[in-house]
């Protein structure tokens, strides 16, 4: 039987622009994905926008990299600026940053499972935008489907409430102006603490009583997805939610192929490879601190706008499962369904921690450490945090008191990268290979694997190094040139 190449373009229910190409063949009697290519189809050039700007603008500008994880960028930029100016924001700043970022985590978790993933398993109402729907196998009984649809509808309201909650201190979401160099803008009062706490209690109850049970229900009905979509097996987390003692609620670390105890993260081990990306090979394998982005297309064997970040040359997955595994809270395994389950249980932990941060939040005091923007403490520095979908790093090089260079590596760059110089597929590509596909013309199984990584291609758009002329001419090789791409 010939290899069938199926392309899903656009991959919907993600943020941004993604195409996934899979080659399907029958191996050992099972029709399955034998090769996969993840193609980022959007390039936005954000880092060049930052060049020359006042660095204090970074949380505002970088928030607009992604409307789904805006506070992750604001947080990374604010942490970076704490280092640039050598500020020491008061405790209230740490708590407010954590609370608003936490609100966006919970929003993103609920959005991801119900609005972005569930339509891969259940049918929505018989109208747009749920029609035309996917050809789904008959799996759910009416009672189970009704329950999940009820959860979906409740989720629409609950995810909105997460943003309403975060905006109490963030002002507006997405794109809060609350994160600033030196701290946070808002001042807490007993009234807004009560309002925040009341929404948080409702969201926490939803996570406990609906979200986690719904994920467990789906997992029980689609048990094979605990065996599908493993990927590289290496898990990375930069750590998130500063605990005030130099650590994080969810620790920084990595595991290699199931190592029981996490290994430390040495940022110097991170490089970006571009052999299969539309960038000049002269910029291959650079560390982000000295990174360079020179678009180049056409280019033989390149197929994505995403670079391929690697740690010590190895492929890593990041995201909720990685964080929970590194922190020692989740050991069940690595798969499509494990990603959903770990995420739901992480949401519960974060919501519970938020209750503690809220209680500790002092009222009536500012959350800002004044500083002189003309005094630069660190010319080259970085800010590491986690977006809901995984590890996020911002790197800066100061030129006087302005931004000289700014580099961003987003979680989707880790998860949805193309092959690297050694030919290793990216994490999601690797996870796709071996996925059984019932109908190659309708590969819903592929979507289930893709969505478990929560791709965000708005974020992933790698950005250009300031001051260098783009050399991109036509972008896409004709389809014929791709047709011959081989089996795994």
């Amino acid at each position: 039987m010939p290899v069938i190449t199926a392309a899903i373009d656009p991959v919907t229910r993600i943020e941004g622009h993604l195409k996934v190409e899979v080659d399907v063949d029958t191996v050992d009697g099972v029709q399955q994905v034998v090769d996969a290519r993840s193609v980022g189809t959007l390039f936005r050039g954000f880092e060049i926008v930052l060049q020359g700007r006042d660095p204090r603008d970074a949380p505002i500008i970088t928030s607009r990299i992604c409307g789904v994880c805006p506070t992750a960028h604001s947080m990374a930029a604010a942490l970076l600026l704490d280092s640039v100016y050598g500020t020491n924001p008061p405790e209230a700043s740490r708590l407010l940053r954590n609370l608003v970022h936490g609100a966006c985590f919970l929003e993103s978790d609920i959005l991801h499972f119900y609005l972005l993933c569930l339509p891969d398993y259940i049918r929505g109402p018989s109208m747009a935008p749920w029609l035309p729907g996917l050809e789904l196998g008959r799996r759910l009984d009416p009672a189970a489907e009704s329950r999940l649809v009820a959860g979906y509808l409740k989720a629409i309201d609950l995810r909105r409430k997460c943003h309403e909650m975060g905006a109490i201190y963030g002002g507006k979401l997405p794109h809060t102006p609350g994160f600033i160099a030196g701290g946070f803008t808002a001042v807490s009062s007993s009234a807004n603490k009560t309002a925040f706490g009341s929404l948080l209690a409702e969201i926490l109850e939803f996570i406990e009583r609906t979200y986690i049970p719904d994920v467990e229900l789906l997992g029980s009905l689609y048990g094979e997805y605990f065996r599908i979509g493993r990927g590289p097996g290496n898990l990375l987390s930069f750590g998130v939610f500063e605990d005030g003692a130099g650590g994080h609620l969810l620790a920084r670390g990595r595991t290699v192929n199931g190592t029981a105890s996490p290994l430390p993260v040495d940022v110097a081990q991170i490089t970006e490879q571009v052999t299969h990306s539309w960038y000049d090979d002269a910029t291959n394998d650079l560390a982000p601190a000295g990174g360079s982005t020179v678009p180049l297309s056409p280019k033989p064997d390149a197929y994505s706008w995403l670079k391929a970040p690697r740690y010590g040359g190895a492929v890593y997955e990041c995201g909720p499962l990685s964080r929970m595994a590194v922190a020692g809270h989740y050991r069940r395994g690595i798969s499509v369904m494990d990603r959903h389950l770990a995420r739901a249980h992480e949401a519960l932990r974060i919501a519970q921690a938020m209750q503690g941060w809220l209680t500790a939040l002092p009222t009536g005091t500012g959350a800002f450490d004044p500083f002189d923007p003309g005094m630069i403490a660190n010319v080259d520095t970085l800010g590491l945090t986690e977006a809901p979908r995984g590890a996020l790093g911002h790197w800066i090089h100061m030129d006087g008191t302005a931004i000289g260079r700014y580099q961003v590596i987003t979680p989707t760059c880790w998860n949805c990268s193309p092959r690297d110089t050694a030919g290793q597929p990216g994490a999601m590509e690797a996870a796709l290979i071996g996925t059984p596909v019932a109908r190659a013309d309708h590969p819903v199984e592929v979507l289930r694997v893709v969505h478990s990584f929560d791709p965000c291609l708005d974020c992933a758009t790698h950005v250009m190094r300031p001051g260098e002329e783009a050399r991109v001419i036509p972008l896409w090789r004709p389809p014929a040139a791709r047709a011959g791409r081989g089996r795994a």
Binding site: D9, P10, T12, R13, I14, E15, K19, T41, L42, R44, G45, F46, I48, V49, L50, G52, D54, R56, D57, I60, R64, G67, V68, L115, R123, G124, P125, S126, M127, A128, P129, W130, L131, P132, G133, L134, V149, L153, I156, R159, R160, G166, A167, Y169, G171, K172, P174, H175, P177, I180, T185, V187, W305, G366, A470, V472, P474, L475, W476, P479
Partner: protein
Amino acid sequence: MTTISRRSFLRYCTASAAVLGLDPLRLGLLNDAMANPSAPSVIWLHGSSCTGCSVSLLNRITATGDTIAQVLVNDINLIFHATLMASAGDPAVAELLRVRKSGNFVLVCEGGVPTAFGGRCCITYGFGGGEITYMQAVQELAAKAAAIVCAGTCASFGGIPRSGSNPTGVVSVRELTGRPTINISGCPANPDWMVWAIVQLLTGTPVTLDANGRPVDLYAKDLAGAAAPELIHDKCPRNPALTGAPLAAGFGEDGHCLELLGCRGPHTRARCEACWNGVPGQGTWCIGVNAPCHGCTEPGFPGPQPFYEPFSG
């Protein structure tokens, strides 16, 4: 397999007559429009965007507690929206092309249009083995659309991706197509303003636009529809003329005017004070948390000036 019907879906939603907080006359028009099988569909495209305006749309809530679920079920036949639609790949695109052919649709654009590299740094969908750029999709759809709504500052004016010396050559939808657009600027666009604009179009209600293509009603009227100052500063509860309080000298001073910290309220037209997240009239906004207005609804946003130095306009 249970296919949930529109009727049974409605059972899950909070039943409410005042779907959009409209007056009875407008509501009647909307009901008529929706009862009419020839009511326009809505096609929502993403370009050089962050999806923030879509996320913002999902934050919609009315004073009566109605959410975006009601809007989707009752008011808008949203046939293409990459973040919300169930479908993917070819079936999704086929539906888009079917409606495009009919010409009976409102086009909503989120994100500016990259024009560098022949537009190929933003591919909206694949079809027939080819790659359709956002630039091409907007041109083709705009030529047929009954009306065009720009959701957010990027589609309206170019926004942050256009600033500095960005290499992707982003332009606004109006600049690309030469067609009039209804610009719902804001970064992101306010959900109430977006739904308001789409409903005006579906009900055939004329929309008066200012020189920047923005509906005058959204910038120069308050929630109740009464005339209001356009500039944020002129209606800001922290306006020193109103409070008699000193200007804030640093962050964290509740109630003080933020002009010295970079507030662009004196140069920004919008009715943000009415609400961002939460029930209109009771919700939050940037200045409410001591953050200076960054002028995100203005054509000049973000501009080269630093956000945290006094703004000279």
